[in-house]
């Protein structure tokens, strides 16, 4: 065993990067679920975002444009889900699963000629002298823009849900769509917008994997991150800061276990491999011992006549 091989600064920096795709996808899904819609298509929207972002970034040479395209791609795919569940009143669970399968297939079709191509590199955010501060510099200020954007989205989502009228209306729609409808709010419009937001965030998360974390395009490369994000929303009791905590915890322990393995720690690898899941669930379950619960109308189809 040689723990000195682990560099804690690099470890924490890697943890933040590993958490970002989960964080982005989960915060999007959180807004969707707070509006009362259960979209199981996160994985499909992520992988679509990953391929859209990749294709556009390669063709334009700009990772930033790629990320915008990824958000648009994820949102467009989620529009299909919005149409199925809000207009055609289809079952949300089935539609979401179909969206995942469709997204996986569509992305591998779109990405066929992009296997093995290298995307343009996303530069670290130019924070100037801040990144040169010892210890704190590489941990906090040495990341790409998407890491900060992810944190920003969490903060804004929290503030909007908690303090603004818009957030209140969104939560009302999620808690009781009949009451919200009776008050004159456009339930379907609000939900569609929430679904679009969720799709865009998932798309960004996917593109973070294909443009920064891996960076390349391979079929099926999100490999289940969308499902982890979905689970995280539930275990985080639909609260933005807990999603952040859960994502960092998950990303952190994933990195830590790889580092411990590399350092030859004598803990059986199986325990290390399952530790991210176990620890994240335990921590979030303990946190959710308060009276938090799912939005009242979550997963229920709304029809104005009802």
């Amino acid at each position: 065993m040689d723990l000195s091989a682990i560099n804690p600064i690099l470890l924490i920096a890697a943890m933040i990067a590993a958490a970002t795709p989960i964080l982005l996808a989960a915060i999007g899904e959180l807004v969707v679920e707070r509006a009362g819609v259960l979209n199981l298509g996160v994985e499909g929207m992520m992988i679509t975002g990953a391929v859209c972002g990749f294709i556009i970034a390669v063709n334009t040479g700009s990772p930033t444009v790629g990320f915008i395209a990824a958000a648009v791609g994820g949102a467009v795919l989620s529009l299909l889900f919005a149409f199925l569940t809000q207009v055609a009143l289809a079952n949300q669970v089935a539609s979401g699963l179909a969206l995942t399968l469709f997204g996986l297939g569509l992305s591998s079709l779109m990405g066929q000629s992009y296997v093995g191509i290298k995307p343009p590199r996303a530069e670290a955010t130019p924070l100037g002298p801040l990144a040169d501060i010892p210890v704190i510099g590489p941990i906090i200020f040495g990341h790409d823009l998407m890491v900060y954007l992810g944190l920003g989205i969490v903060a804004v989502t929290w503030a909007v849900l908690k303090f603004t009228r818009m957030g209140l209306v969104l939560r009302a729609v999620g808690e009781n769509h009949d009451a919200a409808h009776a008050l004159g709010y456009k339930v379907k419009r609000i939900r569609t917008l929430a679904i679009l937001f969720g799709g865009a965030c998932a798309g960004l998360g996917g593109a973070y994997i294909s443009l920064i974390r891996v960076p390349q395009w391979t079929e099926g490369m999100t490999a289940g991150v969308g499902w982890i994000a979905l689970a995280l929303v539930v275990f985080a009791s639909w609260k933005p800061w807990r999603v952040l905590l859960g994502a960092y915890l998950f990303g952190g322990i994933t990195q830590l276990q790889l580092n411990l393995q590399g350092a030859g720690v004598a803990i059986p690898v199986e325990y290390l491999a399952m530790s991210p899941y176990v620890v994240t669930i335990i921590v979030l379950v303990i946190l959710s011992a308060d009276k938090s619960r799912a939005p009242g109308s979550l997963g229920r189809t709304f029809h104005a006549s009802g």
Partner: protein
């Protein structure tokens, strides 16, 4: 009454027609663990499938299902293929071993070929694999010569004999040319997960490795090495030539096409029988991708000589004297490992640190 007669005769006609079609074409199914676009393991199997189509043209029909999870899911996929009239089914991942044998019991007329496994419980099951460890010997030789930090990272998928053989073979040959070499091994418990593979590669690089060997299927570790700079990698299962000449300095290429063609022909001729095939560099099942100019000329020469010796059988990758990790003797001086020992290898050789997860 009339209706039933009509239905019955219709069914008979359909049945005859179906039979006629089945006789015309040999249907070959492939079950893949990853996507065909993984650029590695599954990609090469699919190249083999395409070679079968090119060889036999209209006489065969090939079908494949990709991204099939190991376990019960694969059993369902195989059953469906057999019901759809496949005559020969290749199941191309270690984890399909039991499902393949289970389904084979239910369809005695369908031939099954399982890659990298060792169970042939029924007369319609064959197994086949390639001696990847021969390629690993060459990788180890190059890696031991090229490392400057003397730390070689190794991304393991699952702790099964095939992977452990590769680690041992690479270690033995790296150690031979560089006695100070140290292996850091990370198990990722997946064959294909680009994000996880990239993370593992980055972790190894962060911990000082300047050579990363992988036994996973995607090109993500290559991309991570390129990003880090100054890190040597090897293509796995496929050439991964898009990362040549550096970081990818060579590769192990699985060439399944000749085997797939031969086995399909055997089914057509009716000469197919259950057997175990384990071919290496000599038979062409394991190819060594071009050694790039990033490798010093003398190392390249030695590597090619090693390849030639492995191919003609004058040298075996596991030649004594070798001890097991715990110091107990494994092979005496000049003794070579027999196939049975290799097939079930579940121990590290002396010098590798860490434990194999059980």
């Amino acid at each position: 009454m009339k209706l039933t007669t009509l239905l019955a005769s219709a069914a008979m006609v359909l049945g005859l027609a179906g039979g006629a079609i089945a006789q015309d074409k040999t249907k070959v199914g492939f079950v893949y663990v990853g996507p065909v676009g993984d650029g590695g393991w599954t990609y090469e199997h699919d190249q083999g499938r395409k070679a079968v189509e090119a060889e036999f043209g209209d006489q065969v029909e090939t079908v494949f299902v990709e991204n099939v999870a190991e376990g019960p899911d694969s059993e369902r996929v195989m059953t469906q293929m057999a019901l759809d009239g496949a005559d020969l089914i290749f199941t191309t991942s270690f984890g399909y071993m039991d499902p393949t044998n289970n389904v084979a019991a239910k369809f005695p007329d369908v031939k099954f070929e399982h890659a990298t496994g060792y169970k042939r419980l029924h007369s319609n099951v064959s197994t086949y694999s390639a001696r990847f460890y021969e390629g690993r010997a060459i990788q180890g030789h190059i890696a031991g010569n090229m490392t400057e930090s003397n730390i070689i990272g190794y991304i393991g998928s699952f702790p099964i004999p095939e992977v452990i053989r590769g680690i041992n073979s690479a270690y033995i040959h790296a150690k031979k040319v560089n006695p100070d070499v140290e292996f850091k091994i990370i198990w990722v418990y997946t064959w294909f997960d680009p994000a996880k593979e990239a993370d593992a590669a980055k972790t190894l690089i962060d911990q000082g490795a300047d050579v990363v060997l992988q036994h996973t299927d995607s090109t993500a570790p290559q991309a991570a090495a390129q990003e880090a700079g100054g890190v040597v990698t090897f293509g796995q299962a496929s050439d991964m030539g898009q990362y040549a000449p550096f970081p990818r300095v060579s590769s192990i290429i699985d060439d399944w096409a000749p085997y797939y063609i031969a086995r399909t022909r055997a089914v057509m001729d009716g000469t197919w029988e259950s057997k175990d095939t384990w071919d290496g560099i000599g038979a062409g099942m394991v190819g060594i991708g071009e050694i790039s100019d990033a490798v010093p000329a003398n190392v390249k020469e030695e590597a090619l000589a090693l390849k030639a010796a492995l191919a003609d059988g004058s040298y075996h990758a596991f030649t004594g004297p070798l001890n097991k990790q715990d110091g107990s003797p494994f092979l005496a001086d000049g003794e070579t490992a027999d196939d049975g020992t290799l097939a079930g290898m579940n121990f590290y050789v002396e010098g590798i640190e860490g434990e194999i997860p059980q």
